[in-house]
C-alpha cells in the first residue's frame, strides 16, 4: 500500500540534556518504509529519551527535526497517532478486564465522535478483518486478561494499526521492548507480526535487548551509546560481537562469568525437594548440591517460573516436602525460610524486589534482623556504611546509599536486590529471570554474584527463559513441560540449543 524504501521516520540532530547531563548528543536516525529497524543500546544510551521524544513527553533542544513520510512535524510532538506514528511500550496499555473487541475500539473512540452512537457490528467486522489481515487467530470476545502475554502484544499492535489508519495510510510503529518479558518462543509470534507489518510497507522501529531476535527480524540495525549513534549497518553485516562491542564501547571478552567448580566434598543433598506441587508444578523431585547451580527451563506456562516462589514460600505449595541442609522447610513461613538461609530474587523486580520510592540503604536494610527488637533503636550510620560497602561490592552505580531506588537503571536496581539478599549467609539462592530487561554489563555482574554465592557453598536454582545464560553458568538444567521435569541436561549437553530443544519437546507433543 506504500512505497517501500521511502523514509518513514526521520529524526535529525536530536539533542537533549537533563540538568547538564547529555542524554542525546545529536542523533540522526532514519527508518524506511518496509523495513524493521532495530534500535539497540544499553540502559542509559539515550534510547528511552529518543522514545520519549517520539511520544511527546520530552521536547528536544533547538535544531532538531522530525519528519514522518517526508512531512515536517513540529516538536514537542502532539497527538502522535494523528501524525501516523504509534509507540507501543512494554506494558502495552491494554485494559485487561475488557475484551479484545472493546480494547480495539477504545483508543480510536470507536471511529465516532464522543456522543455519537457507534455500531458494535461494524466494530466487530473491522476487528475481525484486521486480525485476519495480520494473520492473528484471536477471538475478539476474549478478555485480554485471558490471553497469553505474547498474544496481548499482538493485540496491542493491531490496535495501534486500527488507530493509525484513521489518520493515515502509511504508518510508523515504534515497539519499545515488546518482547522483553516473553520467552524466546513467545517472542517469535511478535517478531513474525513485526515482519508482516513492515512487509505491508510500514516502517517499524524495534527496540530490544535480545540480539537473537534482532538478528532474525531486523533489516537494519542502529546502535546508540552515550547519546550518539555509534554504529549502523544492514542485516548482511549483522554480527553479534560487533553489536555488543558497539553497545558496550569496548571489546567484550567473555559475556558470561566462569562457571564455578563444584566443590568435590559438597553435600549432594543440600536441597532435597520431593513431590512439590503448586498451581502448575506437578510433583517436582530434585536434589541440589551445595555449590551447585541448577537451571530450570521451559516454555511459558510450563511451571518453571513457579519453582522459585514455591521454594521460597512466596507461593503456597499444595503438597510436597522441601529439606534444606537437613531442616524441613515444607511448611515454614517466608520469614522462617529466610532465617534458614533462603534468598529469593523475584521475577517482578519493580513490584517485589525494591521499593522504588525508598532510598537504596532503606531497601538494603529492610530484611528484619531477628536478633534485634523491632522497637529497639536503629543505627542509621551503620546502615548507611554497610549499604555503601554492599553497593560497591555489587557494582551498583552510583554507589550512593541515599539515592532513591527508582533513580537507578534496571540493572542497578537488580544489583541492589541481590546485595540485599546476599547481605546474610545464603544457603539456598533462588532466582526468577534474574537478568530480564537489564543491560549486558549489569547482566554479567548479576551472574557473577550468583556464581560467587555458589562458590561460597549456596545451592542455586535459576528459572529462566534465557537458555544461553542457563547453558553458560549452570551445572545442570532441568527442562519442564506441563509442570513435570522432562529432561535433565549436564556436561556436553548443556548448550543453548540443547536446552531449547529439550524445552521444545513439549511443543511438539502439544501439536
Amino acid at each position: 500500500m506504500t512505497d517501500p524504501g521511502q523514509p518513514g521516520l526521520e529524526l535529525v540532530n536530536l539533542r537533549k540534556h537533563f540538568g547538564g547531563v547529555a542524554a542525546l548528543r545529536g542523533v540522526d536516525f532514519t527508518a524506511y518504509g518496509g523495513e524493521v529497524h532495530a534500535l539497540l543500546g544499553q540502559n542509559g544510551s539515550g534510547k528511552s529519551t529518543l522514545v520519549k521524544i517520539l511520544t511527546g513527553i520530552h521536547d528536544p533542544e533547538d535544531g532538531a527535526e522530525l519528519r514522518i513520510w517526508g512531512r515536517e512535524i513540529p516538536m514537542p510532538l502532539k497527538a502522535a497517532h494523528e501524525q501516523g506514528i504509534a509507540v507501543i511500550h512494554q506494558d502495552l496499555g491494554l485494559v485487561e478486564s475488557m475484551t479484545v473487541l472493546e480494547n480495539m475500539g477504545v483508543a480510536s473512540s470507536y471511529g465516532t465522535r464522543q456522543f455519537a452512537p457507534f455500531s458494535m457490528r461494524s466494530e466487530r467486522r473491522i476487528t475481525r478483518e484486521l486480525l485476519a489481515e495480520l494473520g492473528l487467530d484471536i477471538d475478539p470476545d476474549t478478555l485480554v486478561s485471558e490471553l497469553a502475554p505474547a498474544t496481548r502484544a499482538t493485540v496491542a499492535i493491531a490496535r495501534a494499526m486500527r488507530l493509525l489508519r484513521e489518520h493515515s495510510e502509511r504508518l510508523v510503529f515504534v515497539l519499545d521492548e515488546p518482547t522483553a518479558y516473553l520467552s524466546a518462543e513467545e517472542s517469535d509470534l511478535v517478531v513474525a507480526l513485526m515482519r508482516k507489518v513492515a512487509d505491508q510497507g510500514n516502517a517499524v522501529v524495534f527496540i530490544s535487548h535480545r540480539l537473537q531476535e534482532v538478528a532474525v527480524v531486523a533489516d537494519h540495525v542502529t546502535v546508540l551509546r552515550d547519546g550518539l549513534v555509534v554504529d549502523s549497518f544492514e542485516r548482511a553485516d549483522f554480527d553479534h560481537k560487533r553489536v555488543i562491542e558497539a553497545m558496550l564501547g569496548q571489546r567484550l571478552e567473555r559475556a558470561y562469568p566462569a562457571r564455578p567448580d563444584l566443590p568435590p566434598a559438597a553435600d549432594p543433598d543440600h536441597l532435597v525437594v520431593s513431590g512439590l506441587t503448586g498451581e502448575r508444578v506437578l510433583g517436582l523431585d530434585c536434589a541440589v548440591a551445595a555449590g551447585e547451580i541448577v537451571g530450570i527451563a521451559g516454555l511459558v506456562g510450563m511451571g518453571q517460573e513457579e519453582v522459585p516462589g514455591l521454594l521460597s514460600g512466596a507461593s503456597t505449595a499444595a503438597s510436597g516436602t522441601i529439606t534444606l541442609a537437613g531442616q524441613d522447610l515444607s511448611k515454614a513461613s517466608i520469614s522462617d525460610r529466610i532465617a534458614a538461609g533462603v534468598s529469593l530474587v523475584p521475577g517482578n523486580r519493580q513490584r517485589d524486589g525494591v521499593w522504588l520510592e525508598a532510598q537504596a540503604f532503606e531497601n538494603l536494610a529492610i530484611l528484619p534482623d531477628t536478633t534485634k527488637a523491632a522497637l529497639g533503636p536503629r543505627n542509621a550510620g551503620a546502615e548507611m556504611l554497610s549499604a555503601g560497602s554492599m553497593m560497591r561490592a555489587f557494582g551498583v552505580r552510583p554507589p550512593d546509599p541515599e539515592a532513591i531506588a527508582g533513580s537507578f537503571s534496571g540493572g542497578n536496581q537488580q544489583k541492589v536486590v541481590l546485595a540485599k539478599w546476599m547481605s546474610r549467609p545464603v544457603s539456598l539462592l533462588l532466582l526468577d529471570e534474574p537478568t530480564q530487561g537489564i543491560d549486558a554489563g549489569a547482566k554479567f555482574e548479576v551472574l557473577q554474584a550468583v556464581c560467587d554465592a555458589a562458590s561460597k557453598g549456596a545451592a542455586v536454582v535459576i528459572a529462566s527463559g534465557d537458555y544461553e545464560q542457563l547453558a553458560m553458568i549452570c551445572h545442570r538444567v532441568l527442562a519442564m513441560r506441563f509442570g513435570r521435569v522432562t529432561a535433565e541436561l549436564s556436561g556436553a549437553q548443556l548448550t543453548e540449543a540443547g536446552i531449547a530443544h529439550a524445552a521444545q519437546l513439549a511443543e511438539a507433543d502439544i501439536a
Partner: protein, 339 residues
Amino acid sequence: MTNDAPAPASGESGQNLPLPGRAPRRSALRFAERYGLVLILILSFLAFSVLLPETFPTWGNARAMINSQAVVLLLALALTLPLRTGDFDLSIAGTMTASGAVVAQLTTTGTSLVPAIIAALAIGLVVGLLNGFLVVKVGINSFIVTLGMMTALGGLAYAITKSSIIPNIPETVTQLARFKMFGLPSIVWIGWLLVIVFWYVYERTPLGRFLLFIGGSPGASRLAGLKVDRLKIGAFVACSLLASVTGILFAGQVGQLDPSVAGQFLLQPFAAAFLGATVITVGRFNAVGTLIALYLLNIFVTGLQLFGAQPWVSDVFNGCALILAVTFARIAARMSGRA
C-alpha cells in the same frame, strides 16, 4: 568481587549516564523542602503578630490555639499509623466519639473510672480488629470499610448517650485532660509526648521502617519476610486504641459529651497528616511534620477569625489545605524523581 567483569558502565562512559534524579541537588533546596513548612509557620505567626498586635501574639491566644488543637493532634498521630501502611482510617473520629460517650455515660451514672476506661478502650480494640480484619483478611478497600465504620460509630454514640448531650462529667475524668503542668493542660502534654514517641518509632526503629515499606511496596515487604498482615492489623488496632484514648481525654477536656461532634473531627487529622508529609521526612507520613502542619493550619484559621472572618472560614480553609497538601506532596515527589 567483579574485578574481572567487563564493567562497561564503570569506565569513562559511566560518568555520562543520564541518571534521572541523580543530578546533584543543592543542599539548600533540600533544606527548603524539608523545612519549608516550618518557615511558613514562623513567618505566618510573625505576620499575624504584626497585623494583629493586640490580640494575636498573646500568651492567652497561644494557649487557646494549642488547647484547641490537642484533640486533633492525638487523632492525627493515630491516623499516621494506617496511612504509613497504605490504608485509610476514616473511623477515628467515630471511635473517639463513641469511646467518649461510653466514658461519659458510665461515669455520670456512677461507674468508677477504671471500668469506664476499660469499656471505652474495648470499643477501640474491637473497631481496630474489625477494620483490620475486613481490610487485610477479607480484602475490602479501607476507605469503604472505615467510612461505614465511621457512620456506624456515630450512630452508636447517639445510642449510648440516648441522643442527648451528657453534661457534668465527673472530675475524675476531667482531671485526666485538664491537669495543669507549666500552665498547659495534661491533654496537650500527652500529645507532645506522643509526638516524641511516634517520632522515635517512625524514624529510629526497624518497626517504623517496616510500616513504611508495607505501605510503599507490599510485595517486597512480604518477600523480605515481614508479617505484612499482622503489622497492618496492628496499625489499625493501635490507631483505634489511640482514638479511644483521645475520646476519653476529649470527654474530660470539654466536661460534657455531645454525640454529634464526630463530624467536626473527620477532616482536620487528614489535613494535618497529609500536609505534615510534605515536611521533615518529605513524602512520608511523620510525627513532627504532622504537629507542624496542624499548628500552621490553626495559625491561619485563628488569625483569619481574629480578623473577623466567619466561622465557616475554618472549614473552607481546612478542606482546601488538605487538597493543597496532597497536591504539593505530589509535586514535591515529582521534582525529586520519585514519581
